[in-house]
Symmetry: C2
Subunit: 376 residues, 2 copies
């Protein structure tokens, strides 16, 4: 689950936008499925490539199981899996140089994730680890990574790319915006507290699941030492469209107020704090913490092509993929599925037009943190 | 996946009946999802209860892993999982008396299975093993059980209920019927050969996956020594409805001819033959083979209530749950999803009326085989 790792065609409703989700009165961190993922893979490969060196180190250092069981690797927040393939192939190659035993890869995501696409990808994509290597098997766990997802001390190697900045619940949002992803937003300090608790919970669950000497690599969005995330403005346009929709009566004020995108970009200090704490500090070690800026591949493609309509379409598709489930869940329960879809189409259509008129406003320069974590 | 273990409300299209499946020109062994399973659990609990004694023996005898990894149990053909819970709880209780280590339960089914329902069941149902026991974890593998689904020598305990009579491909069908589930049907001898190859393949995959000393219990429909399955007439009514639909022009002749329900009920001899063969006989031992007849719970409920309309509805729902994906896949690709659904509604509606008029014709007395298998 990730706003980098999924994107939908702008005008196509996605499997994540179904009516059953729309009836749930809570934010959702399920991403779009159905193959849209495959059609927009630039952003995520940019981000994940930063973490490959750390992943290779993790796979070369991780303590392997005693006995005759398989080596277990977990992909936390896999979405439909396509962009897990390249990093997993690196990890598997590295593990294979050390040990001939079978490897079991567990893909973890929300229960509502599109597992049909995931299984199709991991068994049928030519670049999948099941095609690239012998004796490697894939399975899925549909449960929040804030819950236990694997047996204690069973995981040799963990990987989580662009997922852990999604929060476990609905954080307080400003009255005039859809989210508060940094402390510079009105409710940011309160969301920061929720994000600190979630990060501690995420690490605590992984400390349970990693075997002694196991390794984990976590890539997620962060803020730099000035408090800048480089993408905190990315929902400004959607927010303006929604405010106009309220003003015109197309949606109700409380529907706007229901909508919250549950993400927060933690600082270096917040990311590192649990490793110095008395409980987790005795179980997990932060071995490396790399920080950088991801180039904006959508913007770079626009610069190369000069095609503003294509840029607006790709940007809108990307935003739709991670916000549409939240949007649909915020609409009144009595709206029909067709009505919900029409509302969403109108909103994202208007956003696309706005981006065509002012493309530079949505250019991003995401700050990324990659952590290599060891289990003691 | 099973015709016992799933049932849909008669008039409701099911998740298995979506348009993407309808575009595939092949039979499907995916069952209905979305919770219909939970609403019709009598038939399957009747069948599975026959196997509980063997499952308890299997769990008490299975060799456990060396080293520190979890104990792995696999549920082959889990569908949405609800009716795996009772047998898995028995297996886990038995394993737990022997060993305190964590247990990982892997649910296997087709990639198109409804994994959202599966994960909801295994994590949230009060009777789920994850709620009933500490240290038990569930995951899913979306791949045919005629393929490898788990690492070699990783499985302590296998369970497969009412799934292995589904074939891997489309068998030849008689020109005037939807299936040939025994040799008494016109193309039955050819289907029997396909079923023999599939059974060998199923056992061969499991022989790879079971650890030395591991155990597996397989429950499936069979024919008795007179060649009677006790349910081979169960699609006669649907077949008659479809033939009338062709005659009236509601569906085309080739759509009728495309439809095949890929099942076969093997004899005692065919089930036992691989264990005497040179390749599998050296790897697997047939420890017990129990055979019996399952009472028809739908019929028994009808006898108790006298309500023929309820009986016709429950029977039709049950048939629809395992035949509708095949039916939809047989319809012309250019039909719209709405048209497909209308065709299916008309067909099953007509079937329900026929059953109301002649309920005794669809009473079943299924012959069931349960095999306890050991890996050498």
């Amino acid at each position: 689950m990730s706003f980098w790792r999924n994107a939908a065609l702008a005008s196509q409703p996605t499997p994540g936008e179904d009516s059953s989700m729309a009836n749930e009165r809570r934010p959702t961190t399920v991403m779009a499925g159905g193959g849209e993922y495959d059609r927009n893979a630039k952003v995520q490969s940019e981000a994940a490539s930063l973490a490959i060196r750390l992943l290779r180190r993790a796979a070369s250092e991780a303590a392997l199981p005693s006995g005759d069981g398989p080596i277990v690797a977990v992909d936390y927040g896999s979405a439909t899996g396509r962009n897990s393939l390249a990093p997993l192939n690196v990890a598997i190659e590295t593990l294979r140089m050390r040990d001939p035993r079978p490897i079991l890869v567990i893909h973890e995501d929300q229960p509502d994730n599109d597992y049909r696409s995931l299984f199709d990808t991991i068994y049928n994509a030519p670049e999948s680890y099941t095609r690239q290597h012998q004796g490697v098997f894939g399975c899925a766990i549909g449960r929040s990574f804030y819950d236990p997802v694997a047996p204690p001390a069973s995981v040799c190697l963990g990987w989580s790319s662009a997922a852990a900045h999604w929060l476990s619940g609905a954080p307080p949002r400003p009255s005039d915006h859809l989210w508060a992803p940094t402390v510079r937003f009105a409710t940011g300090p309160a969301v920061r507290e929720a994000a600190r608790r979630d990060w501690h919970q995420f690490l605590s669950r992984r400390a349970d699941e990693l075997r002694s000497g196991g390794r984990m690599v976590v890539l997620l969005a962060t803020v730099d030492d000035e408090g800048v995330a480089g993408g905190e403005h990315v929902l400004d346009g959607l927010n303006r469209v929604l405010q106009r929709q309220v003003a015109s009566g197309a949606i109700c004020g409380h529907e706007y107020e229901n909508l919250v995108v549950p993400m927060f970009f933690r600082s270096r200090e917040d990311l590192e704090a649990p490793f110095a704490g008395s409980d987790l500090g005795d179980r997990l070690t932060l071995l490396e913490h790399c920080r950088g800026i991801v180039p904006d591949p959508l913007w770079n493609a626009f610069v190369a092509s000069g095609e503003v309509n294509a840029f607006a379409a790709s940007f809108t598709a990307w935003v739709r993929a991670f916000t549409a489930p939240c949007l649909l869940a915020s609409l009144d329960a009595q709206r029909s599925p067709e009505d919900r879809r029409a509302v969403a189409d109108a909103i994202y259509g208007e956003l696309e037009t706005d981006v065509q008129n002012a493309p530079a406003e949505v250019r991003c320069a995401w700050r990324i943190a990659t952590l290599l974590i060891g289990k003691q």
